[in-house]
Symmetry: C2
Subunit: 302 residues, 2 copies
């Protein structure tokens, strides 16, 4: 650990807990030592590594696509999830956070329908276009400028201490892979998420019309992490109820609390149970308001 | 590249082709330069990294389990694949190599049946027990002693040149992960293979009764590699017809030719089409007999 470790973190309980854990797990001969091969860290993305208000960025991306599809075929307006989208029925869409099977099934089907048969290169170009041209509606800057600076410092600290960092999000694996390397400094293979199956034919990869494995939320998170790495995480970071199982599976669990209405957003919705779990199980809760000196990596521009 | 690069390789066409490719892809400003992030290498396991005669080692492992199951429930003896196993019906079992859908389906179902509901720790201990106590029948040493020394040197060369090495085998991902780190020097997350889906409940991971995605042979290989890494391989190594699509997807394709009856085994069965493809597409074919100074890492003991 270098002297400039976690510079955007105040010297508070969260920073001290993180540094103590990293010191313990990397000190050979100490009681808390963990061999480097077992040092897996996994982080949720939406609300943990970047802003998720007023809605998770990938919803912004995909809702634009679905709006185009409904425009091309108005009969879709009566079907879910397109109906909920047109009617701004947020209660329906929030069914993802509560893992309502009907909502989840409907969304997975719609995702598949949108990209079935497309190539990764085509999908990548759509995501890049969105990253460059669409702005988060309340702050007025591209979503990619709204990555949390303190969390990037944490990823760097863990990597420097031979942790292998994975991002494990309910969001689309392939969506995140487009910007993972330049944004988080981790390779595409370290991005885990809800994913389409692929088929390889005529020398190229195209998306099949169904998802591979479970939706990467709730118990799906440790399932996906174990499938990808052969291990459960040693260190996990999240911010919402869909992260509970991943945080339970880890030895060090960090919960980002969105209590900074002035600099970001103030909300507990979707995190009620995880905040309760954090109290019961002694997870490290990060107060964005009290413990972060800066919030975003690229905004406001100084 | 250090002076002791590929010391078990004779100074022949294969060694020269490998070194030229690695030099070209890592020389900044050169026409063949490839950024480190795109340097994915993938290798088949059976017959490419270790011996696969008289049958792939994992078949030895699983056949012993199936024999126990039939002993416990003799009615299974009339069902496939148990029937083929008892009758030593190799023609049936070879249907895997030709990707016969009936055989593949039958085997996947039998694999799932054997391990459904078990924990990774339990499975790991079974594999470790087999690794330590079972011997390859013709050479009389544990299978794990029959890893090819020249291939380990190749993995090391690629890693030293910032390639990220993956093993991508039709065999079981979780089977290989037990010995990947100590044997190949790559982390478990770099092992790709046919895999069971997992469920996470009550704080632990158990195997579900179905496979995750396609069987990792033929087109399944590039599919699995792309799903795991977000890329197709830059460098691929294989030895059989089930590796064709992976080798076609790569820029540098290495085919191990089992022509060394004296030190290993002499056979083309299951590799007829890939040898033809190699000629047509200019893949680098390695003659074990002519180009390898040593064959095995740990045998014969010197």
């Amino acid at each position: 650990m270098t002297p400039d470790t976690l510079t955007s973190w105040k010297d508070g309980p969260a920073k001290r807990a993180i540094l103590d854990f990293v010191t313990a797990t990397t000190t050979e001969g100490g009681v808390g030592f963990v061999p480097a091969s077992d040092r897996i860290a996994s982080f949720d993305n939406d609300g943990t590594l970047w802003v998720e208000q007023p809605l998770p960025p990938q919803f912004d991306f995909v809702f634009r696509r679905w709006a185009e599809e409904v425009k091309a075929d108005p009969s879709m307006a009566q079907e879910q999830p397109y109906k909920a989208l047109l009617e701004k029925d947020m209660a329906f869409l929030e069914g993802v956070a509560t893992q309502d099977p009907e909502v989840v099934g409907t969304l997975l089907k719609a995702f598949s329908r949108t990209w079935a048969g497309s190539t990764p290169a085509h999908f990548d170009s759509e995501v890049r276009d969105w990253l460059e041209n669409v702005k988060q509606p309340t702050l007025g800057v591209p979503y990619i400028d709204l990555v949390y600076k303190p969390m990037l410092e944490l990823l760097e600290l863990l990597t420097a201490n031979e942790f292998r960092v994975f991002v494990c999000s309910g969001g689309g694996r392939d969506f995140m892979r487009v910007f993972a390397e330049e944004t988080w400094g981790i390779h595409k293979e370290n991005v885990i998420g809800t994913a389409a199956e692929y088929t390889f034919a005529d020398g190229r990869i195209v998306r099949a019309e169904h998802a591979l494995g479970s939706l990467d939320v709730g118990p799906g998170k440790p399932e996906h992490i174990f499938a990808a790495t052969g291990r459960l995480p040693l260190f996990a970071g999240g911010n919402a109820d869909v992260d509970i199982e991943m945080l339970e599976a880890a030895r060090f669990s960090l919960l980002v609390n969105h209590d900074d209405e002035a600099r970001e957003f103030g909300y507990v919705k979707g995190a009620e149970k995880s905040l309760e779990k954090a109290r019961d199980l002694g997870w490290t809760v990060v107060s964005m308001k009290d413990e972060w000196i800066a919030v975003f990596e690229k905004w406001p521009k100084t």
